[in-house]
């Protein structure tokens, strides 16, 4: 057993950390969130300057053959900077859905690696969430090709997508994963922003036509790919939450040392010292669970889904504690948008609902712990 990073992995971390510190200060984030531009200078730099988009992707799409550990490192750094780049959607989740899935998938992911395509899985919250009971996409054969119709709510990063990967069901209930170009006729996006600043959309597919080659997986294989993408996405979120928590703790401790009340720094009050020690404990537990879940993905163990859900539960709980206490100890300044604290808490708050709520993951953990033979649900 080991949780050690290789020298290359350590270099990736250092490089990305210093890049984001220099090029993505918090004002840049504020500006990016306010802008409606779909281009991102940071993503372009990932493709061209740092050339890291293929770090965790296989060599057959021009990647470097890394995996979950590289994704964990990147997500933690993106979390620290509160970046809104679509690494989770495009590199981790679409990467898992499309890995070794035929020519069309390979060609699409190769375009991701060189920065010309952004592929977004057209699910994040699941069909049926938010009370949108009409959600779901059907697929039917049509004139040598196929037609897709239906709705998918709350697709993260949708505004920046060049391609979507859609999960569709045929009349017999069989599943298929289908690549759909974002500019395909019949595809409509209703876009909006969430409290964490990320652009989302409700997708409507009104008879979108695709060729057979666009279907990258069917049946059990499609379900397996969904499960892999889902687990990898959950663990990616954990790493992002870790980065966010680290910054909140660091800023809170700095603030408590400098903020004077009753003639001394508030950090001298034991009640706040113990609160911050509790925050550190939560952050360290988040480290432990993120590493553990990543190592389970890396080893492809039979427990990886269970551990991913355990990690999500623990990290959702830790994130809310750390975020709420960061605001509390900053007092009014923690509420104010003058500091980034409020934005960081907003993101943690969304993470606790993203890719399955805390409750959903409790249920998924319990299904695996109490009913050994039952298959783990991917969707609720």
């Amino acid at each position: 057993m080991n949780f050690n990073l290789s020298d290359e992995q350590q270099m990736l971390r250092d490089m990305l950390e210093s890049f984001l510190r220099d090029r993505f200060p918090f004002e840049a984030r504020r500006a990016q969130v306010r802008s409606t531009a779909t281009e991102s200078a940071i993503w372009s730099a990932f493709a061209n300057e740092l050339q890291i988009l293929g770090t965790s992707l296989p060599e057959n799409v021009g990647g470097l053959g890394g995996g979950p550990t590289e994704n964990m490192i990147v997500m933690e750094e993106l979390g620290k900077a509160l970046s809104i780049e679509p690494w989770l959607s495009t590199i981790i989740m679409a990467g898992a859905l499309l890995r070794d899935a035929g020519a069309k998938a390979q060609e699409t992911m190769a375009a991701v690696v060189d920065g010309t395509a952004i592929v977004v899985p057209a699910f994040d919250y699941f069909p049926g969430s938010f009370g949108k009971d009409d959600a779901g996409v059907s697929i039917a054969a049509n004139d040598g090709g196929f037609r897709l119709s239906g709705k998918i709510p709350v697709v993260r990063d949708a505004a920046r997508a060049t391609h979507f990967v859609v999960l569709a069901k045929d009349a017999g209930g069989g599943q298929a994963l289908v690549i759909v170009a974002a500019d395909a006729p019949g595809l409509e996006l209703k876009t909006y922003q969430l409290v964490d600043g990320v652009g989302c959309a409700d997708l409507s597919l009104n008879g979108v036509e695709v060729e057979e080659s666009a279907i990258v997986a069917r049946g059990e294989e499609a379900a397996d790919r969904m499960a892999e993408a889902f687990n990898a996405g959950v663990v990616g979120l954990c790493a992002e939450a870790l980065g966010i928590q680290r910054m909140l703790l660091q800023w809170t401790v700095e603030y408590a040392k400098q903020r004077q009340q009753f003639g001394r720094p508030i950090g001298e009050f034991q009640v706040l010292q113990h609160r911050m020690a509790r925050m550190l404990i939560k952050v360290e537990e988040t480290v432990s669970m993120t590493y553990l879940a990543t190592a389970h993905l890396e080893n492809r163990t039979s427990e990886r889904a269970k551990i991913a859900s355990a990690a999500k539960v623990m990290i959702d709980q830790a994130g809310l504690f750390v975020g709420q206490q960061a605001v509390q100890i900053h007092g009014g300044m923690g509420m104010s948008k003058e500091l980034p604290i409020a934005d960081y808490l907003s993101r943690l708050n969304v993470i606790a609902q993203q890719l399955g709520s805390t409750d959903f993951h409790f249920g998924r953990y319990e299904a695996s712990s109490f009913e050994k033979k039952a298959a783990l649900p991917v969707t609720a």
Binding site: M1, N2, F3, N4, L5, P68, T69, V253, A256, K257, G267, E268, Q270, Q273, H274, M276, A277, R278, L280, I281, E284, E285, V287, S288, M289, Y291, L292, T294, A295, H296, E298, N299, T301, I307, A310, V313, M314, F362, Y365, E366, S369, F370
Partner: protein
């Protein structure tokens, strides 16, 4: 990153497991099955078997009579001992005093005191806390004055009172913190003495506590004559020894292996016992959720423990992780006792009459004395540096507050 064990480590685990299966006495299992308080002989029976195999001082290097195992092997060993529900080995010598003697003792002290520890021939207790010195340990007042004895040799004459001394009633030897310089500032005037518990002037009196078993004692010392060569490290350097020892104590105190076993017992109990609605506890959604919360916290604790192990194996100081392990380890263990009591319900509330050798269970065996054990577990967040002390250590050392 890797979560698998190597083939050698798996083989090592099988070897340990096979040894325990073959050598752990059924008579010992039977003697303790009904929640009887273990006797000195119960403890020593298993300690002697391990000692004969060379595994009692599991954490020790070969040169001192240990097996020389890696930290990972030691963890596997602990996991297997606990998983097999074996009786605990008395650890004050091996885990606490022994390392201090190895680190600070003279060649003579090592030769005299270490082999009996390794061979299960000496039982040690810890004389640190006093009525006026708990969390504020450095304020101890037990006094040791240098005197010349009737035989013309130099001695410390020790007077004072120690308290919360675990299993002192069984001990052959004790390691004590005593004040050798009353004028020096708190930590400065303390020395570390090894005292023969059979010395004239020592009185051990039991303290009755929550949970019922006789675990802790008061130890009174009246004009106890301790040869000067029983002092470890220099005079007034006792605090250095104590700090070193407390670090060791804290690492074992996370108690991951034992809590894992207890959670297994809890799960078995919850599968067996029916609640007021007539379904087994394991099928009650609210109870399941509590167990899931506990298991998830335990998974995180084990991973943190493993990180500390990795740091220590690589020669890095795990630092505040140790205080964190103590805090969370004790809290998670307490949750386990709480849920076990809840799962056992009325069956867990039966308590033995004093000196009765256990109870006649009225329900599932895994629920035997659940209430006593829950009550007893409140100590976990108090001893070994209370959790509040640990939080202060974390705030000072990790956050520089």
């Amino acid at each position: 990153m890797d979560v698998s064990f190597t083939a050698e480590e798996e083989a090592f685990r099988r070897e340990i497991r096979a040894f325990i299966a073959a050598e752990y006495p059924q008579s010992l299992r039977d003697a303790l099955a009904n929640g009887a308080e273990p006797t000195r002989e119960n403890y020593l029976t298993w300690m002697r078997i391990l000692a004969k195999k060379g595994w009692l001082a599991a954490s020790w290097p070969k040169e001192y009579g240990g097996p020389g195992w890696s930290l990972t092997q030691q963890q596997i060993f602990r996991d297997e001992l606990e998983d097999a529900d074996t009786i605990r080995t008395a650890s004050m010598g091996i885990a606490m005093c022994g390392p201090v003697i190895r680190q600070f003792g003279t060649a003579e002290q090592k030769a005299r005191f270490l082999p009996p520890m390794v061979n299960a021939e000496s039982w040690w207790c810890q004389g640190f806390s006093e009525p006026g010195a708990g969390s504020d340990l450095a304020s101890i007042r037990t006094r040791a004055e240098r005197v010349v004895g009737d035989d013309g040799k130099e001695y410390y004459r020790v007077n004072g009172q120690k308290t919360w001394t675990t299993l002192a009633q069984h001990a052959d030897w004790g390691f004590f913190l005593v004040r050798t310089d009353p004028d020096a500032k708190k930590q400065k005037g303390i020395s570390f003495l090894l005292i023969d518990m059979a010395s004239p002037g020592i009185q051990v009196r039991p303290i009755e506590t929550l949970g019922g078993d006789r675990e802790v004692n008061e130890v009174w010392l009246e004009d106890v004559m301790v040869p000067i060569e029983n002092r470890v490290h220099d005079e007034n350097e006792g605090w250095t020894c104590a700090k070193f020892l407390l670090e060791h104590e804290r690492s074992a105190i996370a108690d991951v292996s034992r809590t894992k076993r207890r959670v297994k017992n809890l799960r078995a109990l919850a599968d067996e016992r029916h609640d007021e609605r007539g379904s087994v506890m394991s099928d009650a959604p609210a109870f399941r959720r509590k167990i899931a919360q506990l298991e998830i916290e335990l998974i995180a604790l084990e991973a943190t423990n493993f990180r500390a192990l990795t740091d220590a194996s690589n020669g890095r100081d795990p630092g505040p992780l140790m205080s964190m392990l103590k805090t969370r380890g004790s809290e998670i263990a307490q949750s386990t006792f709480e849920l076990t009591q809840e799962a056992a319900g009325p069956y867990g509330m039966v308590t033995p009459a004093p000196e009765s050798g256990g109870i006649q269970p009225i329900g599932p065996r895994t629920g035997v004395r659940a209430a006593d054990h829950y009550l007893n577990s409140r100590k976990l967040s108090i001893y070994g540096g209370s959790n509040e002390i640990q939080l202060t250590i974390i705030a000072k050392t990790a956050l520089s507050l």
